[in-house]
């Protein structure tokens, strides 16, 4: 814990900035019900009002308070994207580690299977599956997580391959340790830095991906506030010189940039530790 604090204190400006950005977003998400002036779906005024004292950043395409929607959107966007990413990492790393640790035909089977899955564009695949199972949030979470886990599989397999040849893993094998121990105690802790970094990046990808799905009508369904859908719902206004959609898009960029800044620093630190 103290080591973590020390690490945080040694962070460069860019990383601190990133942490600040993520922290603000998280606070907004957590405190949304307390600080939002209006409800998530309450229609409170005319459509696309400019910023004013009653609507800090104006209203959206249905006359809902954009600021409140941004706060609730943070909640939904982060929660859903986090859930998806966590699930995809859960699945991807277990299979990836398994493939790397066991090797042989199991590795071949898993890798080729993932290759086939990856050869089909993710978006199309998601479209197909979602158009079958419907676009409820649980379905969205499971489908995207499983599709995304192919990429996690690749990374965790590659990382675990490097670790599995280390002598401390060999030592554990020679001791007679089982597969689960090897994966859980020998490989996982050492695979954490690249995986954590990838987690940040995939997290960003996930909510951009949800935004893309929303664009095609298969993402998070209205009236749930989610930044991607908010951009989509309001995007038509841009060409009329109304810049409302810039806010949710800005929020997405804000969080993405924040996460990326932290990830950059984290990767830097992690690579430094290896030296």
């Amino acid at each position: 814990m103290t080591a973590l604090l020390k690490l945080l204190r040694s962070a460069p400006f860019s990383a601190r900035l990133g942490m600040g950005m993520v922290l603000i977003t998280l606070l907004a998400a957590i405190l949304a019900p307390a600080i939002a002036p209006y409800g998530e779906t309450a229609v409170t005024g005319d459509v696309w009002l400019p910023a004013s004292s009653s609507h800090w950043v104006g209203t959206d395409n249905l006359g809902r308070d954009l600021f409140s929607r941004l706060l609730f959107g943070a909640r939904n966007t982060i929660a859903i994207a986090f859930l998806i990413t966590a699930l995809s990492f859960g699945v991807g790393t277990v299979w990836g580690f398994l493939a790397a640790t066991v090797g042989g035909w199991i590795d071949q089977l898993l890798s080729r299977g993932v290759d086939i899955l990856m050869a089909f564009p993710t978006l199309i695949f998601a479209l197909m599956v979602l158009s079958v199972v419907g676009t409820s949030i649980p379905a969205l979470v499971v489908v995207i997580a499983l599709l995304d886990s192919t990429r996690v599989f690749r990374l965790s397999r590659a990382v675990a391959m490097d670790i599995a040849v280390m002598e401390y893993v060999e030592a554990a094998r020679l001791r007679g340790e089982g597969l689960w121990w090897l994966m859980r105690h020998e490989i996982l802790p050492n695979a954490m830095p690249p995986l954590v970094a990838e987690f940040g990046l995939r997290f960003c990808f996930v909510f951009l991906f949800i935004a893309a799905l929303s664009f095609l009508g298969l993402g998070i369904q209205p009236p749930t506030a989610d930044w991607g859908s908010m951009v989509r719902e309001n995007a038509g206004a841009i060409t009329f010189g109304i810049y409302t959609p810039l806010w949710p898009a800005g929020a997405i960029a804000f969080l993405t940039v924040g996460v990326n800044l932290i990830v950059d620093w984290f990767l830097h630190v992690a690579s430094g530790l290896e030296d």
Binding site: K6, S10, E167, Y168, A171, L174, G176, H185
Partner: protein, 537 residues
């Protein structure tokens, strides 16, 4: 003599640890005259490479030359603009790195990399430079000098590559060459060729050199003057002969005395039961070419068998076969009277416990994310199902046995030095109460003084616990120190084996002889004598 070619005064170099700058080199002075070879010696962390690079006005990432003066041929290098430094680097001061394999750009042919310096410095045309390269290759006795330059680095052997790098360093005919441990990564037999090449360069072109090494015996062959460094401080500086003959400081004396100890012969006299018997072992990675051919080795209880050979001789493969990582094609391994199943997964936990292993690189042999408590405690739990309290008691006992403080129990491996890590590895092996420990080059990654400590520890433990060692090494000094019996391997076969005394006393097998002859001795004239005896290659 004339003015010094290079004069470094009051140099302070700092390194970044965490977010603070800490000194690596404390106020050192260094002078180098034309044609002089200066040896910089010290253990890792002494700051010798950092000092050597500073002579070029260069500091690695995370280092900075904080203060002092570096005057080369009348020019101040410290604080000089990059363009000025660029004119000097490569052209007037050249650098030879420890690992030629890593320091050659894998994407370009050797001769292109040779020519790059002179052409970029505007000294000659590409054609001239290539012609020049061939001449230099010939002078450094590289085979096929006309064509070797047109190979890629990975197509050339380690010793040849190291010589090619020296040739490259010579390409601009520099005034100074900095050799940074140029032979450390090489086998003893190859080391000789490289040393000969350095001797050739410094003598023929009257080039000044800074020779950085941790091996006093090696530097003794080349240097006119030696500086002994320790933790960024100068310990002692004197003429080479003087240092060897009359070391003033205790530290220097320790360095000189390294590995002069011998295992007591009395132990070796007693015949004991056979713990491990390897019979007619043949092994292969691909199923076609055998890496091991018909190996027979026996290890007795409480005794040490040293397995000697150059890299690629199959010693480590033998260890893998014995441990079950690589199932043998033919032959069998008898351990404590039972034939062990060939594959690891078929072996009983009890057999695994009684056969432990220690690795060459303690860095990679310890999981950096586990505390010592877990590293040593896990086998206790795994083999003996020890409770938390039993584990703690036993770990503390072991830490004492391997001469480490008790509070290390809650440290991570990264917080330990190399030697300390190796002691943890030994503790981890011992905790299983093994009958046999396979030691795979356990000292070769360590500084000599540290290595000596490890060897002494291993010997003590053997006396106390009657554990047997199968000791794999390429270093004959180590063999001399620790072995009861010696097995010499070459290209997957056993060349010669027997009690230590027998093997080390002439007449030797030809290969054993060559190995022994190549071990540097603490004698400034050893290299000259050796080269005189050898026909020119």
């Amino acid at each position: 003599m004339n003015n010094p070619l290079l004069e470094m005064k009051d140099i302070v170099i700092e390194g970044l640890t965490g977010d603070a700058w800490a000194p690596i080199i404390n106020s050192l002075d260094l002078t180098l005259r034309k044609g002089e070879v200066l040896g910089l010696i010290g253990e890792s962390g002494a700051g010798k490479s950092t000092l050597g690079l500073a002579a070029m006005g260069y500091a690695r990432q995370g280092c900075r030359i904080a203060s002092g003066a570096i005057v080369f041929d009348g020019q101040e290098l410290l604080g000089a603009p990059a363009s000025q430094l660029r004119l000097i680097r490569g052209a007037r001061i050249a650098y030879v790195a420890q690992s030629a394999a890593a320091s050659f750009n894998p994407a370009h042919r050797l001769i292109r990399q040779y020519a790059e310096g002179p052409v970029q410095h505007g000294l000659m045309s590409a054609a001239e430079a290539e012609e020049n390269a061939v001449t230099t290759y010939r002078q450094l006795l590289l085979p096929d000098p006309e064509n070797i330059g047109y190979r890629f680095p990975h197509q050339v052997s380690g010793g040849q590559l190291q010589r090619a790098m020296m040739a490259m360093a010579m390409s601009c005919r520099p005034d100074i060459i900095i050799f940074d441990e140029p032979t450390t990564a090489l086998d003893v037999t190859t080391q000789i060729e490289v040393l000969a090449a350095i001797r050739e360069i410094t003598r023929r072109f009257d080039t000044a050199a800074i020779y950085i090494t941790h091996d006093l015996a090696v530097v003794a062959q080349l240097a006119d003057r030696i500086m002994v460094l320790r933790n960024g401080d100068l310990v002692e500086e004197n003429d080479a002969g003087e240092i060897l003959a009359h070391p003033r400081e205790p530290y220097t004396r320790d360095l000189l005395a390294v590995r002069s100890f011998r295992k007591r012969e009395s132990d070796a006299a007693l015949k004991k039961e056979v713990i491990l018997k390897v019979e007619g072992l043949t092994a292969s990675y691909t199923g076609e070419n055998n890496v091991l051919e018909d190996i027979d080795v026996s290890v007795h209880r409480g005794r040490t068998v040293a397995l000697v050979g150059e890299s690629g001789s199959g010693k480590s493969t033998l260890a893998r076969v014995i441990t079950g990582l690589l199932p043998a094609v033919n032959g069998r391994v008898v351990f404590n009277g039972d034939v062990l199943p060939a594959a690891l997964k078929h072996r009983k936990r009890e057999d695994l416990r009684r056969l432990q292993m220690i690795y060459q690189m303690p860095d990679t042999a310890l999981n950096p994310r586990q505390k010592i408590r877990k590293i040593i405690g896990r086998p206790l739990k795994f083999y003996f199902n020890a409770s938390r309290r039993q584990q703690e008691a036993r770990i503390l006992e072991l830490l004492e046995q391997v001469e480490l403080p008790a509070d290390y129990i809650d440290r991570y491996p990264t917080e330990l030095s190399g030697g300390e890590k190796q002691r943890i590895c030994i503790a981890r092996a011992l905790v299983a109460k093994p009958d046999l420990i396979i030691c795979d080059e356990v000292t070769s990654a360590l500084d000599q003084l540290v290595a000596e400590g490890i060897l002494k520890l291993l010997l003590n433990l053997q006396r106390q616990l009657q554990v047997s060692y199968l000791f794999i090494t390429h270093d004959l000094a180590t063999v001399k120190a620790i072995a009861d019996e010696i097995v010499v391997m070459l290209a997957g076969r056993i060349v010669e084996k027997g009690p230590k005394k027998e093997i080390l006393t002439p007449p030797h097998h030809a290969y054993t002889h060559r190995l022994l002859a190549c071990v540097p001795e603490m004698d400034p004239n050893w290299l000259d004598r050796l080269l005189e005896k050898r026909p020119a290659a």
